[in-house]
């Protein structure tokens, strides 16, 4: 389970959200479902962390939001990735990979 209690994991949440949105605009609930589904139920995003993170990203200009209608014709707020968001995603992917490599190195040699 993913808990945004420290900087590392909070950054991870942002990375996951950005990556999800890179596929196309989605509402908050859709984001949680997507992450949960793609990670095969391993990662569950808490609503209590997701919305603050989304709004922070909106204020930082990484995403924009717009009211629209869901497939079930329900009013929902759709988040889009901005150009800045795309750049941020690329950077975070890169640093995530570095982290993974570093951790792998440590595991190999420790």
């Amino acid at each position: 389970m993913l808990k945004a209690k420290n900087d590392l994991l909070q950054g991870t949440l942002a990375l996951l959200v950005l990556k999800t949105l890179a596929r196309g605009p989605l509402h908050g609930y859709g984001i949680t479902l997507h992450i949960q589904m793609v990670s095969k139920d391993f990662l569950r995003v808490e609503e209590g962390s997701l919305y603050p993170a989304l709004h922070r990203m909106e204020q930082d200009g990484l995403v924009t939001a717009e009211w629209g209608f869901s497939e079930n014709n329900r009013r929902a707020r759709y988040y889009h990735l901005t150009a800045a968001g795309r750049k941020q995603l690329a950077e975070e992917e890169k640093s995530w990979e570095r982290l993974i490599q570093a951790v792998a190195q440590v595991l190999r040699f420790a």
């Binding site: 609930y29 808490e46 919305y51 709004h55 707020r77």
Partner: protein, 888 residues
Amino acid sequence: MSLISRLRGMLRREQLDHDLDEELRSHIEMRAADNTAAGMSPQQARYEAQKRFGNTTLLKEDTRGVDIISWLDEAARDFRLALRLLQRSPGFTIVAILTLALGIGANTAIFSVIDSVLLRPLPYHEPDQLVMVWENNSQHPNPHNTVSPPNFVDWQSRNTIFSSMAYIFDGRDNLTGNGDPQEVVVQDVSVNFFSLLGVNLLLGPGFTPENGQAGHDNVVILSYGFWNEHFAADPAIVGKSVVLNGHPQTVVGVAPLKFQWFIKDGSLTSAKPQMWSPFVFPQSWSNHKDMGRFITVVARMKPGATYSQAQTQMTAIASQLEHEYPDSQSHWGVNVVPLRDQISGALRPSLLVLFGAVAFVLLIACANVSSLLLARAASREREMAIRTAIGASRWRIARQLLMESLLLALIGGGLGVALAVWGTNALLAASPRNLLDLAAISLDLRVLTFAVASTLLAGLLFGFLPSYISAHSRISETLKEGGRGSSAANRRAFARNAFVVAQLGLALVLLTGSGLLIRSFVRLIGVDPGFDTGHLLTFKVSLPRAKYGKDPVCLAFFQQLLAKLSTVPGVRSATMESFPPLAGLGAATAVHLLSQPPLALSDLPVTNVQVVGSNYFSTMNIPLRAGRLFNAQELTEEKHVTIINQAFADKYLHGVNPLGQKAAIYMKSLSETELQPSEIIGVVGDVHQMGLDTVPEPTVYWPHPELVMSGMTILVRTANDPRLIAPAARAALQQLDPELPLAGVATMDQLLADSLSRSRFTMLLLGIFAGVALVLAAVGIYGLIAYSVTQRTQELGIRIALGAQRRDVLRLVLAQGTRLTFLGVAIGLFAALALSRLLSTLLFAVSATDPLTFAGVATLLAVVALLACFIPARRATRVDPIVALRYE
């Protein structure tokens, strides 16, 4: 998050709340729908969906992040905390608040004057379209030379840039039939004067176009003040008549309270008008060659026209006229001056210098408070470190400290505004007459806005550095070292040293400015006016033309008056002249010395003309340098003689003996001047006619019969206090004619003081500011050294215990102060060198880089600063080593 987006957040908060609510609701509904689809009961589905959110209110707050509500809430908490902290250290609080109040108050007071004189729109319709139009002779440059009436007529008919033009010239008339006879200042104006300025009269219809025709001009408009004082604000005044110089005039209007028209250049009375009367040019004024230049011209530009377009067109018209009337017009150009520049022109340099000075005072005050805050922050370093350790962010700590600064600034600013109200009144009371318009200055919204803005700016300015340093200190270090020797402490010490150096530098700049003005003033009052100003009573007598129209009658009257005055007990002698000295008034004209080749009228040299009565030179104590004075016969009939001053002889005669030379002085009609030139019979010493700060100009003196004038300034030399003679003088005048007022009674010493008042005023204010700066800088360096002595108590104790002498300790402590002082003085000297040029227009006979002044103020500042260091240094020598060592 930036403040801007936070503010935007505040404005959109409701929208945001609403959006968020809806977003969360939609999320819950979607989840519930899925849950139902997965087989839960609707109730259970909903409950589960909601539970995953936990506390939705809390979530909303988190989501909004540092949104405005919570921000305000925290700010309020900071505010209360700041208030408690300030209460806990009253000494610090009082010093800081008083310092700030002084700085902000002085700034606000000066700004209120600047605002009303330089910034606020003039009380006329579309004031930016109004310009003054002057003549200007390239041979004898005077950018504000009055205009000749025929030129005005030509300008008016030829220009296309002005929608209208008006003329003004003022004089003193005798008002009778309303209590005691009195002299009033009347501006004769063209009939369109009020409509051009766009003034709505308080009462009455004003001038009508037919008042602009000869024979229909017996009407007047009263100024508000005059109507109020002399007619008890009679609401039915319109239609009544007043008697001016024996002629009844119908009142057709009263001007509004705020309306004023006083342009010092070109004014013959140097006084504000009490009424306006339409004046029509007589036919005889249309000859260019015969008319002098004496009217003031104001014009309104057509909408959209610019000053430079107006100047270009008027210059073109002037060169046409120069071509058409070479005799009278060659070298005469036109100078278009925006009305605003005309009105504030003379005051602008002084006001800007004073504004700069008060800004410096505020900066010094900020440095002082900042320095105090730094000292306090050092003692609170542990508090801050602990707060950081338990989770306060840097921003949170900086904000807390900034809040304290702003609170100090606000209290100081509030007190400062009170001080400014008092200060503005004091400023007005101390300002010379006619310098500032009393009614126009008030503390209004604009001034308050300025005060609030400068308060906030000051708060941020002095609060920023201490907060920044505290917020960026490393907690681990601080907690380890017990608050001493940490990097923050080092940075603080450096900042405080820098502040003290800056303060000393700023103070030195102000002291230099003030020192230069003082020296300039001393030079000014050291100027010999050229005559004896002591025990001299002056007043004006103007004879109405209706009764004294014939020259012999006028001449005889003044002779009788002078004779009568000289028999008054206490009077040593009495005389008269056309224009009193030091008042900035005079008449000037072209002069042709017959021994020199003839020139066109406008190429001739120019001389001042003074018409004087008997005993003039002896009464005034003006020395005779060559030749002789007027004899009794020349003082009773026209004998075509004149006396010149030394400046005339030096400038126009170049060593040739002036005595016996003939001079055509173009003050009478052309034919009379050329047929009967005046013979120079004597040379007298120079008098500073236009003021002590101007060089005496070439002047010719005529005895009264040469040019009989109906208005003269009487000068009475008395044995004792001249003011005591005034009642007897009035009695003497009214024995001769009970209808005549004794006007403008003043002693010559008063006139002298008035002529110096502007210089004195600027000097006094800058002196006060420099004094405040000196005190603040001294307090600043004192505080620093005292603080460092307290910090070093232990070290000093050890040194003393190890055998250091008092002298060594003293030297050690003083060394720090001396270094800072010399650095500050050196920086200040450079800054003063760069800035004192700005003062040069205000200086008289002193260079802006006067080495004596610079050396003097640098020494003064250094001595004061070192004395301020000496007090804590002496305390350091008394450190008891036992106590100091036990301290830790």
